[in-house]
Every structure is written in structure tokens, then in C-alpha cells.
């Protein structure tokens, strides 16, 4: 029987990946952030998942405006780092888990989530940066990966409620999966940031910290967040926070907070991390 062992929420700012790739994690600018990540790295090291569902958004890397799916699940045996314009990040390819990913896809579609199935896709910083945050710089990632992409670039993103409900159904799918498998789920993106326009640089630490608290204490309330509130309070790109709600939806209502951490800034973004255990 498969089991969800934890949910992780984390920002996926590309500059965090660059800091790792360029050996700057101990620089004054980055040290507080990576010090804050260390307990999470230790925890996941002690609680090795077999497979991680990484919920993230593609940033005009593998997909484009030509065709904009709301939810994509990657069923491929391998996912290579995407060329986002710099050349691909020099991190390992991720090994997929086609058996598990097809099981998820079938379960979700039969239960009224209109998934897009990807047999081939590259993964951009949205997926590889959380892997680096949690697992450092191994030769190979220590587990299999199922990428789950969410459209948050083209308006409208799926609603907070829809994301949360998708999480509930993912949990049901995991519990219906036969093979003994320890599953973790990472909800990534955010926290508050606005990359665009005259309001670029917006960070709302109070909002982020409240979000982190409510993620444990009152997820049902977060589920009612509107797009306009998220964009107004957390910045247009802060709407990426809906992806944390997919993670939260997979956990039991009274899931326990193992660790939580917040830091400003990582580049133009409020960076948070949380671990929830079922």
C-alpha cells in the first residue's frame, strides 16, 4: 500500500538554484536562507520518500502559450532539465515513475479532474530548484519524480478551491495504489512576489507568514482565497501559492507542522518553506 508521508511547501526562485550551482550558499546574502533550509534537508534525509510528486508551474520552458493546459501530469520515464535561455541547469535528470504516474492520471480523470497527460516533457527551475533545496547536490536525485504542472501564468489559474480539491483526490489515488510506496508531495512557487510592472518587487511578509500559519491551522479557509486577493496581496506571481494548496489538500485536516521557515528576500521574492506530516 502506498502512503503519503509528508507535504512540503517551498518557493522555487531560480536565483536559489543559481546560488547552489555557483557555490554561493555560504555568501552573506544567501547564508540565512540555506541555514533555514538545513532542518528540512535533514528531515527528508531521515524520511526518505520513494517518489515525490512535485507540483510546480512551467515558466515558458517546456510549454507555451500555443497550448495552455491547466493541470499536466508527467508519465515519462525521465525528465531532463529544460533550457530556459541559459542552457539547461547542470543537475541530474529526474527519473519518472510511469506506473505510479499513470495510476494517478487514470484515477484523477475518472474522478473528474481534467488532466493533461505528458509522455514527454522537460522540467524547468520550478521543479529542479525545490529538488535542489531539499536534496542538495547529489549525483542522482534520491527518489523518483512525478511532475505535476499547473498553469498560473495565463489567467485564469485554477482556483484555490480547485487546487485544494485536486489534492484531496491525489490523496485518494495514492491510497488506492497497491505497491508499497512512500510518497511525498512538494507544493512549490511563491511566496509573495511580483516580477512585472511598476509594482515589481512587491513582497508582503505579513501575508506570507499568515499563509504559512493557516496552512497548518485552517486550510479550509485558504481554500476560499480569490485570484484578485492573491494578486493584490501577494503580487501577480504570488498566485503561484495556489500550488501549495494542492499539497495541503493531500494531507489530513489535522496534519502536523514539522518545520516552518520564512526569509526575505530571495532575489525578488519572499521565500518560505514548510513541512507537514500526515
Amino acid at each position: 500500500m502506498a502512503k503519503l508521508i509528508c507535504g512540503v511547501g517551498t518557493s522555487h526562485v531560480p536565483a536559489i538554484g543559481a546560488a547552489i550551482d555557483n557555490g554561493k550558499t555560504q555568501d552573506a546574502y544567501w547564508k540565512p536562507l540555506f541555514d533555514g533550509y538545513q532542518p528540512a534537508r535533514d528531515w527528508i534525509q531521515d524520511n526518505k520518500p520513494d517518489v515525490v510528486i512535485v507540483v510546480f508551474n512551467d515558466h515558458a520552458s517546456a510549454f507555451s502559450l500555443k497550448l495552455i493546459p491547466t493541470f499536466i501530469i508527467g508519465v515519462a520515464p525521465e525528465f531532463k532539465p529544460a533550457d530556459e535561455g541559459y542552457g539547461p541547469r547542470k543537475v541530474p535528470s529526474a527519473e519518472g515513475d510511469p506506473d505510479f504516474a499513470w495510476h494517478l492520471a487514470e484515477h484523477l480523470i475518472l474522478n473528474e479532474f481534467d488532466m493533461t497527460i505528458a509522455n514527454e516533457m522537460d522540467i524547468d527551475h520550478g521543479c529542479t530548484v525545490p529538488l535542489s533545496i531539499m536534496f542538495g547536490e547529489p549525483e542522482q536525485w534520491p527518489c523518483k519524480i512525478v511532475p505535476l504542472c499547473v498553469n498560473v501564468i495565463q489567467y485564469p489559474a485554477p482556483t484555490a478551491k480547485r487546487c485544494y480539491d485536486l489534492g484531496r483526490e491525489i490523496r485518494a489515488a495514492v491510497e488506492a495504489y497497491g505497491p508499497d510506496t512512500k510518497v511525498a508531495i512538494f507544493g512549490t512557487g511563491g511566496m509573495s512576489h511580483q516580477l512585472q510592472g511598476e509594482r515589481a518587487g512587491l513582497v508582503n511578509a505579513d501575508y506570507d507568514q499568515n499563509f504559512l500559519r493557516m496552512l497548518t491551522s485552517d486550510p479550509e479557509q485558504l481554500k476560499t482565497l480569490s485570484h484578485v486577493e492573491l494578486m493584490r496581496e501577494a503580487g501577480t506571481e504570488g498566485i503561484e501559492l495556489v500550488m501549495w494548496l494542492i499539497m495541503r489538500g493531500t494531507m489530513s485536516l489535522d496534519a502536523k507542522e514539522i518545520y516552518s521557515f520564512y526569509h526575505v528576500p530571495a532575489s525578488n521574492t519572499g521565500a518560505g518553506l514548510i513541512i507537514l506530516e500526515d
Binding site: 531560480p14 536565483a15 515558466h59 515558458a60 520552458s61 507555451s64 502559450l65 500555443k66 529544460a82 533550457d83 530556459e84 535561455g85 541559459y86 542552457g87 501564468i153 495565463q154 489567467y155 485564469p156 509573495s192 511580483q194 516580477l195 512585472q196 510592472g197 511598476e198 509594482r199 515589481a200 518587487g201 512587491l202 513582497v203 508582503n204 511578509a205 501575508y207 485570484h227 484578485v228 494578486m231 493584490r232 496581496e233 501577480t236 506571481e237 526575505v264 528576500p265 532575489s267 525578488n268 519572499g270
Partner: protein, 129 residues
């Protein structure tokens, strides 16, 4: 019908209208994901850009690196940032350019906690002062 998010100041939401306006511009930017295209663009920006049916205003905005102008003409930051990557520029550089400050002062603003949401929530609220 006015959309609720149009009240947010200094913000260009990528809705259907915006997507249609900037489609070719954004698809040009996207093409810079490929190394061969980056080389071709580097060799002759104007000729490369001419392959995309962008408007004259969009063309000027690209060639002049008018980062705010590109957004106003339908660009989306995740796409236009491909051009910044091409230039070797950071997101803070682009953020500074779009908000009309120097890169240094933008960086300092971020280290000090970023742009405050206070006074930046609503055009209506700003108009009331």
C-alpha cells in the same frame, strides 16, 4: 465588463485580451529558449525578429529593451524575461527598469524587505489618497 484585478496598480494581468495582444511578441521571446535561435538573434536582431509578425511598436520595444513597454503591448514577464536572460540581465535589473529606479536602489529595496503592499493595493484607494 471591467475585471476586478484591473484595480491593482502597476500590474498587467495576462488575461485573454492581453494574451491575444502579445501572442507573437511572447512567442518570439519563447524562441530564445533554443541555443540556435539565440545565436541567430545575436547575429542580427532585426532580421531574426522580422520572422515574427509583431507590431511596429512591439518591434521597437524589443529592440530598445523597453521592458515596461513590452508588458503594455501584451508581453508577459515570464516570456520577456527570456530576452533579459539573453542580455545577461537579472530579474532585479528588469524590475528596476520597469519601476523606474536604478538596479542598485531596487536591490536595496529588496534587501530592506521589498516594495510594501501599503498604498499599492488599489488604484481606487490610491485615488482617494
Amino acid at each position: 465588463m471591467p475585471k476586478d484585478y484591473e484595480d491593482i496598480p502597476g500590474t498587467y494581468v495576462m488575461d485573454g485580451r492581453h494574451c491575444r495582444l502579445g501572442y507573437q511578441l511572447n512567442m518570439f521571446c519563447l524562441s530564445l529558449n533554443e541555443a540556435a535561435n539565440r545565436e541567430a538573434f545575436r547575429a542580427d536582431e532585426g532580421a531574426y525578429l522580422a520572422q515574427y509578425p509583431v507590431t511596429p511598436a512591439q518591434r521597437t520595444a524589443v529592440l530598445e529593451r523597453d521592458w515596461l513597454g513590452m508588458l503594455q503591448l501584451g508581453g508577459n514577464i515570464y516570456y520577456t524575461f527570456k530576452l533579459a536572460i539573453f542580455d545577461g540581465r537579472s530579474m532585479q535589473y528588469v524590475g528596476a527598469a520597469m519601476s523606474g529606479v536604478t538596479e542598485d536602489s531596487f536591490r536595496e529595496m529588496m534587501i530592506a524587505g521589498g516594495r510594501s503592499v501599503e498604498g499599492n493595493r488599489s488604484k481606487k484607494e490610491q485615488a482617494r489618497g
